[in-house]
C-alpha cells in the first residue's frame, strides 16, 4: 500500500528516510495522545512537532531493532511535562501520586463508589455510550489518563509503558487499576448524579 507521505517526501539521507518510515505511521497515535493530554488542538500540534524534532535530533542514539514506539512516546511525554499545558496540569494534581504509596506497586485501593452497586447490564449500557466514556476519561488526572491511553488505546505492554513513562512496572499496574476504578466511578456518577463522584 502506498502511503501518502511517500508521495510528498523528497529524496533525503538514509537517516531521515529511516526516521520518517518509523515515525510517520505513528503520527495519528502521537497526535491523539497529545490532544488528550493538552486538551487543545493547537497545543497538540506544537507538542507533536517538538516531539518530531527532538526525536530526529536524538535519532542517532536510537538502537535499531529496539522499541521505537515506546521511545518516541517517552519523548512526547517528557515534552508534554515541560510544556505550558503539562506544567499547569502537574501543578493541579501534584498530590495525585501520593494516594497509593507514592505510586508504587501494591494492591489498588478502589474508591468506595467503584464497588459493585449497579447491575452489570447497567454498566454495559453505560459503557456502550462512547460520549459517556470520553467524558469519564476527561475527568482522569493526567498521570492516570496517560497510562490508560498507552495501555488501552495504544495496546502497549506494561514494560513498554514503564519505559515510556519512566516508572516501575508495579507503578504502571497500580495506575492502571486506579484509572479503571476511577473510570468506573465516573461512569456510575454520570448514571446517578445524586450519588456524586468518588474522589481518588
Amino acid at each position: 500500500m502506498r502511503l501518502p507521505w511517500k508521495q510528498t517526501a523528497r529524496e533525503a539521507g538514509p537517516q531521515t528516510s529511516a526516521f520518517e518510515r518509523l515515525v510517520l505511521p505513528l503520527l495519528p497515535s502521537l497526535y491523539n495522545i497529545a490532544f488528550w493530554l493538552s486538551r487543545n488542538g493547537a497545543d497538540a500540534e506544537d507538542l507533536v512537532q517538538e516531539t518530531f524534532l527532538k526525536a530526529l535530533r536524538g535519532f542517532a542514539s536510537f538502537e535499531p531493532g529496539s522499541n521505537f514506539k515506546a521511545w518516541i512516546f517517552r519523548i512526547l511525554r517528557n515534552t508534554y511535562l515541560t510544556s505550558r499545558a503539562g506544567l499547569a496540569a502537574t501543578r493541579t494534581v501534584a498530590l495525585e501520586d501520593e494516594l497509593n504509596g507514592n505510586g508504587n506497586s501494591g494492591p489498588a485501593q478502589l474508591p468506595e463508589a467503584a464497588i459493585d452497586r449497579q447491575t452489570p447490564e447497567a454498566n454495559l449500557l453505560q459503557m456502550a455510550d462512547r460520549a459517556s466514556l470520553q467524558a469519564a476519561m476527561e475527568t482522569l488526572p493526567p498521570r492516570l489518563l496517560e497510562v490508560i491511553l498507552l495501555c488501552d488505546v495504544e495496546q502497549m505492554k506494561y514494560r513498554e509503558i514503564a519505559f515510556a513513562l519512566e516508572i516501575p512496572i508495579g507503578t504502571v499496574m497500580s495506575r492502571i487499576a486506579r484509572a479503571r476504578a476511577a473510570l468506573r466511578a465516573a461512569l456510575e456518577g454520570q448514571q446517578s448524579p445524586s450519588r456524586g463522584l468518588a474522589h481518588d
Binding site: 495519528p28 491523539n32 507533536v48 494492591p107 452489570p120 462512547r130 495501555c151 488505546v153 506494561y158
Partner: protein, 277 residues
C-alpha cells in the same frame, strides 16, 4: 473455592499480561466462580470500550506535510531552495491594467475554489481515516475476545446450510457462504454480534491452526468493491464490499491465505468469479 481474584490479576488478565502459570490458575478459578467471571468480562469490555473511545482526535492533514517538510529541512545542510517568482505576464505594457485586474480576480477566484475543495477533501479523508481506525479497533477486539475461548460460539457447525439459516430473523440481511474451499479451510461456526451499534454476522473459519473472523454487515450506501488492508498487533485486517454488504476479515494468518478466503466469500456474494480489486 479459593479467594476471589484480585483487581491486579483481573487487570492483567484483560491486558494479556498474565504468565502461563497465572493464566492457568486464573482460568481454573473463573471456571468455578461466576462473580469473578463477571468482573473479568467487565474489565475486558471496559478496556475495549476505552480503546474505542480513546481514538478521538485525528491529526489535521496539513500537519503531516508540515512535519515531513520540517524533518527534511532539519536533515539538509543546504539552505532551503529559494523560490523565485517569475512574472506571469511578459510585460505590463502589453497588458493593460484592466486585463491584469481581471486576471488577478480570476486567479483569486480559482485559488479560493481550490482551497475550499482541498479543505473539504481533507476533511472527508480525515473522517474516513478516523472511521477506519475505529472499525479496525472494534473488529480486533471482537476477534481477540472470540479467540479467548471462554464463551463458546453461538452456532457451532461446519455446515454452511446450518450456519446461514441460523441468522434468519436475527439480522436484516442475508449472505452466501462459499463452497469448495481448500481442504485446510474450515467453517467453525458463527456469532451474532454488533459493530458500531449495528447487527453483524461473525463467521469463524480456521485456516490450518489460524483462526479467521469474517464480519458481514449491511453497507451504508453503496459498498465499495475495493480491498483495503490494515495491520494491528500482528493481525491483518481486510475490508471490502460485495453488493450491499461490507465484509471485514481479520486473522494472523498469511495475507495470501486470508485473501484466498476473502475472494471465495466475495465470489459467493457476487455469484460470479470476479475478485475484489
Amino acid at each position: 473455592m479459593t479467594d476471589h481474584l484480585s483487581h491486579s490479576i483481573l487487570n492483567a488478565l484483560a491486558d494479556g499480561e498474565l504468565s502461563v502459570d497465572q493464566l492457568a490458575s486464573t482460568s481454573q478459578h473463573l471456571a468455578q466462580c461466576p462473580a469473578c467471571t463477571s468482573k473479568a468480562l467487565y474489565q475486558s469490555l471496559l478496556k475495549s470500550s476505552t480503546a474505542n473511545a480513546g481514538q478521538r482526535y485525528a491529526p489535521p492533514p496539513q500537519l503531516q506535510d508540515r512535519l515531513v517538510r520540517l524533518v527534511s529541512e532539519a536533515d539538509s545542510e543546504a539552505p532551503a531552495p529559494e523560490f523565485r517568482v517569475t512574472p506571469i505576464f511578459p510585460s505590463r505594457s502589453i497588458w493593460g491594467f484592466a486585463s491584469v485586474g481581471w486576471a488577478a480576480a480570476a486567479l483569486l477566484l480559482l485559488f479560493s475554489v481550490s482551497v475550499i475543495f482541498v479543505q473539504r477533501a481533507a476533511q472527508r479523508a480525515e473522517e474516513a481515516s478516523a472511521y477506519k481506525a475505529a472499525l479496525v479497533t472494534e473488529v480486533f477486539d471482537q476477534h481477540v475476545a472470540t479467540l479467548a475461548g471462554n464463551v463458546p460460539l453461538q452456532v457451532i457447525s461446519t455446515d454452511r446450510h446450518t450456519v446461514k439459516p441460523w441468522f434468519q430473523g436475527k439480522i436484516p440481511f442475508s449472505f452466501n457462504l462459499p463452497q469448495g474451499l481448500s481442504s485446510d479451510i474450515t467453517l467453525d461456526g458463527a456469532n451474532l454480534t454488533y459493530i458500531a451499534n449495528r447487527p453483524v454476522a461473525q463467521l469463524l473459519y480456521s485456516i490450518g491452526k489460524h483462526r479467521v473472523s469474517v464480519f458481514l454487515r449491511q453497507a451504508s450506501g453503496k459498498a465499495e468493491e475495493t480491498q483495503s488492508l490494515a495491520e494491528r498487533s500482528g493481525f491483518h485486517v481486510m475490508v471490502f464490499g460485495a453488493k450491499d454488504l461490507q465484509l471485514i476479515a481479520i486473522s494472523d494468518v498469511d495475507p495470501v491465505r486470508l485473501t484466498e478466503l476473502v475472494n471465495a466469500i466475495y465470489n459467493a456474494q457476487a455469484g460470479d468469479q470476479k475478485q475484489p480489486k
